[in-house]
Amino acid sequence: MTDNKAISRETLESMLKAINMGVLLVDHDCKVLFSNHFMSINSGRSAEELVGRTLFEVFPELPEVWTRQKINSVVTLQNFAFTSWQQRPHLFNFESTRPISGLVGHMYQNCTFFPVQDADGGSLGVGLAISDTTDTAARQLELTHLNELLEEEKSAQALLIARLEEAQAQLLQSEKMAAIGQLAAGVAHEINNPIGFVCSNVNSLRRYLVDLFALLDAYEQASDEKHAQAHPELAAMRDKADYDFMRQDIDELIVESVEGLDRVTRIVKDLREFSHVDSYEWQLADLHKGLDSTLNVIWNEIKFKAQVIKRYGDIEPIECMGSQINQVFLNLLINASHAVGVDGEIIINSGREDGGVFVEVVDNGHGIPLDIQNRIFEPFFTTKPVGMGSGLGLSLSYSIIVKHHGRLTVESEPGRGSCFRAWLPLRQPQVQAHATSAVEGC
């Protein structure tokens, strides 16, 4: 290497020809001065066919204006210029160098344009060195594709996780509700039996008493003055027992007892209806009935806090899962009762709208701060102290209403109160109603 003369022009030329990359030399007018084997093999033209012609005659795929400007910039600036397979994959239209295994049709190339000087240091022309990057490109494209797939999968999984979380929250709450429902149903059942015979006994007692008093009246009428004088102790007993008052009071006592029993029976019935162990399926239900039984169940919680004003409109029964809708009412009413202070007022509105029905629970409580209004339907979001609220009530209500193809919205003004509004369609869309009920049935 130290003796340059030892390496002849021919040796250098044959080396350039043999090198495993494309080498071209062009003059300022883009006329080819030199071309090596790589170019011949890939273009299918011999060196003789290439040399002496312009680049554009022998490689018509090259954009002329751009290529000339590129060559020009190398000559003018005496600086390198480059093309990369990423931006310009196929500068020369050569076939792929992975004919069997590759999925790509053409050779990907990187190309370097470099200034070439003659022996005197003047500008001779521009050299092009073209390297084959098909293998790298194919791998890179494959990786990019894989990456896209992974990204897609990732977002699909994120969606799944969100749905799983929602399902879990719902399961948690519905398990809780089912337990409460079972307990309520059990208690109701246990009370129902004794109440049953007490009821029938009281009715019999009432009849017996009527007969008994009729008998007494008959005795009284049958006894005359002589008989009374003969038995003064009878009058004394009658005065002592305050007989007239007793007769009157017994009637009232019986009436009150029957009323009381009616109330117990109704509460038991409401408990059973509310827990609705059997109504996890789509059926026509009267929302007013649902509202009333829900109100009865939580009456103890509300009655000292707020006055409840019902403004029921004229609505027809809708297709829904009664127990679930009752759960929504329960949540909304409980929340309203928690929100109100002194002089609390809860108004329940209902009516028809948009081919469906709406139920509004309006309170005059503290309202919901603006910054959390869009979060209240999120699972586990709660403003109540630890242990007081699960943060599930509203999110569950929301998902129940959505499952019914309805809408649950809120309007709230801090300090003035809130209005929760559930809108539900009269009938469920056919297919989904069945599909959901099948799932619910499991």
Binding site: W66, Q69, S73, Q78, N79, F80, F82, S84, Q86, Q87
Partner: protein, 203 residues
Amino acid sequence: METLAALTEDQRDALQELMNIAMGQAAERLARLTNTMVTLSVPFIHPLIREQDNLLIPDHLRRSSMIVTRQSFLGELRGEVFVCFGSMGADKLAELLGYSDGGPAQQEELMLDVTNILSGACISGLAKQVAIQVSYDAPSILVHREESANALNELNLNEHLAMVLEIRFEVQAHQFSCDLLICITERTAGVVVRAIDRLLYEL
């Protein structure tokens, strides 16, 4: 070896002068290449910053850069040039450099061309004045972002010395600007400092 960060005011002025000459030559060549009036602003050299891992990049660059390209220069002077393009990229120069359509691949290629021309002009100009040979590898896209936020913060860099050159182009009536960030490896920065000292001595 003294770092570039420790340059005196005189040395800084001399470096500014070196870059002025380099950019002047670049403008003249660009004008010849494009057959148009090309005005290159006097490059403004921001205070030199030496940082271990990240670039303390001037705020205006952080805000505006959408695409950052890079190109290495190799030889006795080693390092990399980063060019920060704004949202417009280099579209204004497309026609002058022979590009016809404005597809995304072509926009990128155009930016790589501009990177190559600018870094070639700066580094070759500098290398010529300190009488050394440099070579270049192909430029590539380093950061390509829809949103500009902190595109440059994520880079993980080796120890280097940086100088930021703010360059404004004016081609015909179109104004175009981009910023060049020249980072020289710690090991070879001495070449520049010696050249500066020689320049100052000759004055």
